[in-house]
Every structure is written in C-alpha cells, then in structure tokens.
Amino acid sequence: MEENVLEKEIFFPTMLVPFGPQHPASGHFHAMLKCDGEQVVELIPYPGYLHRGFEKLMEYRLHVQNSMLVDRICVLDPFANEMGYANVVEKAVGVEAPEKGKFIRTIMAELGRILSHITWIGVLSMALGLDSGTRIAWGDREKIIRLNEIATGGRIYPCFFVPGGVRRGFPEGFKEKALKVLDYLEKQLNLYDNLVFQNKTVHVRLERVGVFDSKEAAALGATGPNLRACGIDTDVRRDEPYDAYPEADFKAVTMKEGDGYARALCRRGEISESISMVRQLLEKMPRGKIRIKELALAKAPVGDAHFCCESARGELCFYMVSDGTNKPYRVKVRGPSFSHTLSEFPYLVRGASIADVPAIYWSLDPCPSDMDR
C-alpha cells in the first residue's frame, strides 16, 4: 500500500510577508504580516505614507483657509470633514448657521455618504476579484460627482462649507437633477444586490471572516457601520443631532453578526437610508439666507470646542482650542479610519488566513489618508 503523504504535516518557518504599499489591494498602507504557513500570527502596521501633519498646518491658517484645507483629510468623503470643521468654529464662536445653509449642508453630506459607499462597493469588489462590480460602481460614481460639480463647482474637493453656512445656494434645476440621479441609483442598487451582495462568491468570502463581538469592538474604538454591524446602536446623527438631521426621518442600520458580510450589508442599508433622507430634505428645503459671511474671518474667544459628526466611516471629531485670534491654537482631528486600521485591523487578522487579509481590510472600509492625516 502506498504511504499516505498527507499524514505528515508540512513544516513552515515563520515568515514575514509585506502587505503594501505597492499592492493592488492595500491602498496606500504598509504592513508586515508575520505568518505561520497560511495563518497570520501578527500584523505589524507601518503607516505614515500619507502623513501631512494637518493639525500643524491648520495652526498657521485662517479659519476660512482651513475650510479649504480640511476636505483633503479624507479624499473619499470630503463633505463630512468640512462639516465638522465649519461646525466646530461655529460652536467656538457661538453663532449658528442660517437654516437654509444647514439644509444644504446636510443634503450634500448625505450625497457624500452615498458617494463614499459606492466607491467602497467598487473597492471591495476589486479586492474580492469581482471586476465587473468595480467597473459598474466606479462608473455610477460619476453621476454623483456630476451632482457635486453642479452644486458646488468642485468635483472631488467641493470647498463648499465654510464657518457660517455654505458658499452658494443650489443652482436652478438642481432638485430635479438630484431626484433623477437618486431614482437611477435606487435602480442600480438592485443590480448591486444581484451582482455583489447576494453573490455567492462575496458571501462565502466575507461570512464569518473578521468577526468581533460588541465588547471588543467598543474597546478597540470601532465606530460607524463597523460598530453597528455588531449590534451596538449608536449613530452620532441621531444621538447628538447637528445641522438639519433632526428634520430627517431615518434609522441607523444595525446587524448582529459582526462579520465582514454584516458590515457590507450595513453599508448597503445606509445607501438606501441616505437616498430617502436626501429626498425628504429636498422637499422640506426652507427659504432664506445661506451664509453669515462675517463668521469666516471671525475671532473665536479663548477656550475650546469639541464637535463630532458621522462621516461615512464613523465618528469624526474635531477638537479646537482657540486663543482669541482668527486662527486656531490647536486642532485635533479624530478620524474614524485611524482606529479602524491601526487597532481593529491587526486584531481581526490575527488567526485569519493570508487570503482573507484584503477581504477583512476592505470590509472595514479604511481610508489611508484619513488614517495618516
């Protein structure tokens, strides 16, 4: 009888496998995977490829100049960053933006969330080797960018929200165009369901991959869809309402499982919620002023202000200390991707197989430029 070759185990030395920075599925992130055979023992992250020192740069600039600077923090979701900064300055000065300005901000921020999630569908599909999903999602993305362009005058970086409101109102016919795009996207969501979310390949690769329970997730600093996917019902938009969010009727999408697939479905649900929110807010749009222009160069009194908003990735906080001039003394940006990539990702890949690493990474939806700042 032949000797059973499978009886003896293969000997693997512990080895280091680099992940990134030049890798199709890593973004601009570098990590070393310490592997025992196929299994990842430890992940050592080396971030900093996109570090620009935003918090230092902002100390030298006027508030209105900082508004142009902050949307570069996260390329995929610039509106949330602008919203956070505009609001923290308003909070420090003690003046609120006009009602219409708040509505415009909220509508654009929700469109930004849809934009970010659709980009993420493309990236996730790319990481899972589902090329048609990538092409279609990144093609649809153009439609929302076109809306941004019409409303704000900038494609990716709108430079649109300033302390005191927004820089201009919606142009004529924007509402009809926006509703048309939303209808189109709603139709496309069915396609994404068939193509990505209910696809057997995606399901098998994401289910029971990268699981954490609610206690671990909270201790590691998870926020946003990643946290809601393990059953904790927290949403800054609902719990600490800002701008026009009290006017909109929405629910935070939660799941129980806490695995990669639950995170994906959470984001899928958020797209639908955002679409309905934009529709409601476009209907309720009030009349009036859009901006208090003096606030852009106003001096904030000595003290500090802390403001949190919900970006597409999770809790985005701005903490500003002011010394009585029209420049901040210190700004701290708490980006959601910072803890997602640097404390949750190393925890989740421990014990996973190498092939699952890109799937776990993109199921967390990190943004490397938000992480490094």
């Binding site: 020192g53 740069l57 201790a219 600490e240 802390h306 701290k332 708490r334 404390s343």
Partner: protein, 156 residues
C-alpha cells in the same frame, strides 16, 4: 442628564476635580494627575465604553501639556472629556491601555507628535515619521514654516 454623572464623580473624587463644565449631553472636567486613572476606570465601569480620542495641547506659556481623554457612552448617549495637566519638562503620564485596548495607538501617536511618555504602554515606537531628528513636530516651539524654508527652499 450629565448632571448625575458629574455629581457622583464629585462625591467619589472630591480632592482631584476642578473646573467642571456640564451641559445637557456632555461634560468636561480637569483632573489631577495622581488620580485620573482611577477616575477613568470609574467612568468606564459606569458605561463610558468608547474612548474616542486621546489628544494633547501644548500650552507653552504655562509650561504645561494638557492631555485630554474624550469618552462616549453607547448606553447613556453622553460625551465626556477628562483633562489632565502635566509639566512640560518631564512629560509622563500613566497609560490607559488596560482600560481600553484602542488607547494604545492613540498614545503611540501622541508620544511621537508631542514626546509624552505613557508609562505602561507596550509599544511607543515611531508611527508616521521615518528618520525624524528634530523635536516632536506638534509642539509649539517647532515652527513648521521655518523648518520647511530651511530644508526645502534653501533658507530663502
């Protein structure tokens, strides 16, 4: 809502709390360096299970660093900030890694950007910057514009 937390904090730690600002849904207070860890541990047990942020402000004129812990409670829906002042000459403070595992990376960032030592943190190696030889960049006495002029524009 935050009243009840701040009043019970006051009765538990009467000696070390100064400057409480308490609003409807958030509060902030300044704690003494000796007892802040017990206070954070008490807050964690009473529902503040999310450490949003550890950050630092360099008050160069007062020769002090202020380390700020931003907390959030998923159950109470409350936000809190605990501020601790430490001297600028020997900046060192106890680590809170054993309370929140996510604090590790925040403390590592603050160590790199401000040069604060967090006693008890297992890994404080440089995070973002490679081959950095100047003083930590987020300190107020580091002038980014002068550094850039010297390094990149040949001192123009």
């Amino acid at each position: 809502m935050s009243e009840e937390i701040t009043s019970s904090l006051k009765s538990n730690f009467p000696a070390s709390i100064t400057g409480i600002v308490s609003e409807d849904k958030n509060f902030s207070l300044t704690a003494k360096k000796e007892e802040f860890c017990e206070m954070l541990s008490w807050l964690k047990d009473s529902g503040f299970d999310h450490l949003s942020d550890v950050t630092c402000v360099d008050f160069i004129e007062e020769k002090e660093f202020e380390v700020i812990y931003h907390l959030w409670s998923h159950t109470r829906k409350l936000r809190g900030a605990v501020k601790v002042r430490i001297p600028r000459e020997s900046p060192s403070i106890r680590s809170v890694v054993d309370l929140w595992a996510g604090a590790q990376i925040h403390e590592r960032e603050n160590h790199e950007m401000f040069g604060i030592n967090f006693d008890g943190n297992p890994n404080l190696s440089p995070l973002f910057l490679e081959d950095w030889e100047e003083i930590p960049p987020f300190r107020k006495d580091f002038n980014s514009r002068e550094y850039v002029k010297k390094k990149y524009y040949g001192g123009e």
